[in-house]
């Protein structure tokens, strides 16, 4: 083997190493954004009023409505969960807060990567209980009396979990444990934005507790914004 060949080989190795190194430099933002709106197809029914029948001194401080379908004037649906399916990324399970405030769950829909720990807080200072209806994760039913400020509960596997309070029949919320870090919950106007999604072709799925799921394909490019707008119909 002559020296020239060795030299080329070394140079090649060096450049590969360099390029890998550049990729790992922090702050270099690869990937694009998926954003859009989830809208209601048709005229949305006005949310039903919930009659507070218990612990009125705490629960009746503000009026309650059924939160299973909240649509704003422009037709945007709040509390829908949008997930970029199959987008690979290091899921960063962390700690998320789920509060019981005025006998409502705040947020009504809580999304988080599987493996996260839910910090369940009770701002009301009355007895609530957190009863989860899960099948993949272990279900539990923990009381949270006034003195118990925080209950921490880890959710290990991806699942959509219904949460209720047996002491206050109208209270129900949802935990959406995802298998990807690329998810969002729509705001009051029904809009969402998911950043830093690695470039690629994906299926974006939306889930809404009353209307079910819908999906569409998107093509995410580095630095670009792919839009995904959904229009959900009531289940027939």
């Amino acid at each position: 083997m002559n020296m020239k060949k060795v030299g080329i080989l070394l140079a090649a190795c060096g450049s590969i190493a360099l390029s890998l190194g550049v990729g790992a430099i922090p702050g270099y933002a690869a990937g694009g954004t998926v954003s859009g709106t989830v809208k209601y197809d048709g005229t949305a029914p006005a949310p039903k009023k919930v009659e507070v029948t218990k612990d009125k001194e705490v629960c009746a401080l503000h009026p309650h409505v059924e939160e299973d379908l909240l649509v704003d004037s422009s037709g945007g649906i709040a509390n829908a969960v949008v997930i970029v399916k199959g987008a690979k990324g290091d899921a960063k399970p962390g700690e998320v807060t789920f509060d019981q405030k005025g006998c409502d769950y705040v947020p009504h829909v809580l999304a988080f990567p599987a493996g996260s720990t839910i910090k369940i807080t009770n701002s009301d200072g009355i007895l609530h209980n957190i009863h989860t209806y899960s099948t993949v994760n272990p279900s539990f039913n923990m009381a949270q009396p006034k003195f118990k400020k925080v209950i921490s509960q880890k959710v290990d596997k991806p699942e959509v979990i219904k949460v209720t309070c047996d002491a206050h029949g109208w209270m129900h919320g949802w935990w959406v444990s995802t298998d990807t870090p690329y998810y969002a919950v729509t705001d009051d106007k029904g809009t969402f934005s998911i950043k830093d999604v690695p470039a690629g072709n994906y299926t974006v799925e939306v889930w809404q507790e009353k209307l079910g799921t819908a999906d569409q394909k998107v093509d995410v490019k580095d630095g670009g914004t792919a839009s995904a707008n959904f229009s959900l119909k009531p289940k027939s």
């Binding site: 218990k54 539990f140 006034k146 118990k148 206050h168 029949g169």
Partner: protein
Amino acid sequence: MAGRPGLDPTEEGKSYSALFVLMVALLLVTAVWSIWDDNISRRPWKEYQVKWDRLAYDKYMKDSDTEQKRLNADPEYQKASKELAAAEKELHSGATAAKLDDLHAKLRDLGVIADDKDQAVRFTKSFLTERWYDYNHAVQAKEDAAPYKDEIDRLNADLAKENLVSDKAKADVQAVKDQIEALNVKVETLTEQMKKLTAKRDDFIEKANSYMIPITVGGVLLFRYPKIPKIQQTSIDDFDRNAFDQAIARVDRCQSCHMGADKKGFEDAPQPFRTHSNFDQIILKHPPDKLGCTPCHDGQGPAVSSARLAHGEDRDWDSPMLKGDKMEARCIKCHIDVGSLHDANGKPIAINWVEGERMFQQMGCAGCHLVAGYEDMAKIGPYLKLASAKLDPSWTVRWITNPHVFRPHTRMPNFMFSREEATSIAAYLMDSSSKNSKDWLTAHVAPATLDADVKNAGLIEEGKGLFESVGCKGCHAIDPDQYGSPVGDSAKFKPNEVRTTKDFAPNLSKIAEKTSASWVYTWLKNPRDFSPHTAMPSLRLTDHEAAALTAFVMTHGDKKEDPGVETALKDPEQIKKGETLVRKYGCFGCHEIEGMDKESRIGVELTTFGSKHLDELFFGNQVDIPETWDAWTFHKLQTPRIYATKDVEQLMPNFDFDDADIQNLRVFLAGLTSGTVQERYRMPGSEHQTQIVAGRKMVNYYNCVGCHIVEQRGGFVRRFYSEDQINFAPPILNGEGAKAQPQWLFNFLQGPTPIRPWLKIRMPTFHFTNTEDDTIVNYFTGLSDVNVQFMFINTNLIPPAELQAGAKLMSKDYFNCFSCHQQGDKKPEGPESGWAPDLALAHERLNPDWILQWIANPPAIQPGTKMPSFYPGGPDDILGGKQDEQIRAIRDYIFWFGTHPGQPIPGQVATNPVKVSKK
């Protein structure tokens, strides 16, 4: 040539050598054939054993390879093997090896010297013995012993010297040995350590070697040969007893082919080598080397000449091998309570037998067939001593002709009567009950308003609401296509599934065709007033409720009068014919009929039906049905008169069973066998088991499972409750024996009092006798295996500090128990669907120990309960945050306020006294 006289020269000249050779050849062939036949063709098990040896060898070698791979990846093993190799290398090379050789040479030389010295010592000892003999002899012979004494002294002095020398030589040898040992010790320690690490692998290799025996020369494997096949057998001398109470020996050779049945790890192997299913429950608890196989499986234990014969699949063998579900039929031989046998996952082991037994009980088979253990079953059919007070005459004739037309899922079988015969039977039933009916009708007059009530649309609607809510649907369906509570296999029961099992209670979709509004009204008010043994309970309906329910159910069906029936039923000729038919077909097996209280069962006794030989089963002209017990029984249950011929009449009616139900019934029938099993092989029956079996009969008779889940089965009414309304369904009774106080349960069953007053469905009053009530209470305590029933609490002895702690824990600022639980007259806030039982009743209802377990972990006792877990995580500022003490304080406070209604806690001023309603 002149021969000796008498000799036939022609004969002498003949040669027999060809014949001789032929005979020898024949003899040889027969000898070879007989050896071949005896050793090969009649011993098919040998082939299986050779296959098995190969299979087991392969498996263990594979296991050993897997283990070796795991070891190779194990850092500890890597380290140990490196160290061992290094130590061995060091020992066997260089200076150490030379030194070791030297030491061994030295050891050899010193060994010779030590032996020499030792020999000298032993010689001297022998001389001493000899001299002592001489000395003693001289003394006794009165000769001069002195020279011997001198000699002894001299030898003793020598021995002392020689001992010193010998000990020195031995010490020298030991010193060299110690030096060698010191050199070897490292390798030895490491080898020991290695052995521990590789124990599992070595065990696999050892097992593999036991199946294919290795021949090695100098550590090199030459070849392996399989073990010589050998019959494997278990002899059980005294398992069965015959009719003369003599022991019958069994010899089971099944393991000669089924080599892997009692070994774990062959779960996926092909038969006959597979590991036995349910290994932990069956094999570990019924070791085949003590019990063999045929006590559970049947078959021809000693036969080894073919699989067919070994499995007893021969017309002449009485007990062919039980296959599939039928195996469950043998549990009953040794276990009293088969229903409670569960596998490792809590699934019933003999579920098909259990279902079959229930079918047998609920279908009233014991009404016609005597079976030991089921002699005292109550009659399952309606009470006919008051038939004419209840039944529409035209309907009665149509019903008797074929009940399945009117109600396809009825338990009543079809006797295939002609209309003429049905008319006769109806005539007899009406006539025989006419006097009773007249008296009864005089004493039970429905309200005059009833006629108007049944036409009142508002009342009908109200009745519909009651029908939906008070509990009728626990047993009855009212939609023609709906099923009520099922008799048969319920594992697959789904709300709208079309099945052909039987309904426990009548479908009421055409009830008005059958009876009158006034009868329905009086019946609903108190069923036992009409029929003293009915399973139908009283729902404690008010007159208004009874009228409303009557109005609703009477909108179902219309009267259909067949002309001429009324007259025909009064014909004395018909009545007489009817009586004959009732006696012939044994209607009194299921019904109480006036004047027929003492009739005996008309069917054959079935106590040993499972042992019936084929020769005892009459196949009639049915040549297409396979000649097996299984096929005979299946077809008998499916088409009961299938084996009838011109000369052999058969009376058994057609039940129109679902195939699955027939199979389960057949499993139960297969368990009815002759012969008893020796006491020592039987599972000792505890009192609990006897109580459970007795209680289960009650549960089957009264169909508790229509509403409640008992022993993981039933709660059929729950299908009418949506998920968020399930709190309104009747309680689940799994574990009830551990939960409720027996005295309370007894009283509750006598006269139910509301525990959950918000429930619309009612626990009915069954009018149990004391014995029946005790049986049910014992059934629940038996199921929960409760021995010390419960502890008693004198609430006056509870320290005030504990009561205060309990009250504080239950208060609004802490657990806020009364957010959901009723507390005497004080109802919780919010809708009733969120309410929980009255805690003021707990002190007389619940087992104090159970409350402790319940508060500690509710879902462990009742999965999915709405009661949340408060622990772990009690408050730190009460009772030092100790969980056990807090739970006890809650329990004690609950008992205290139940027994001290309206009283303030000692040491505290009452701010909000608890009121308890008095019943």
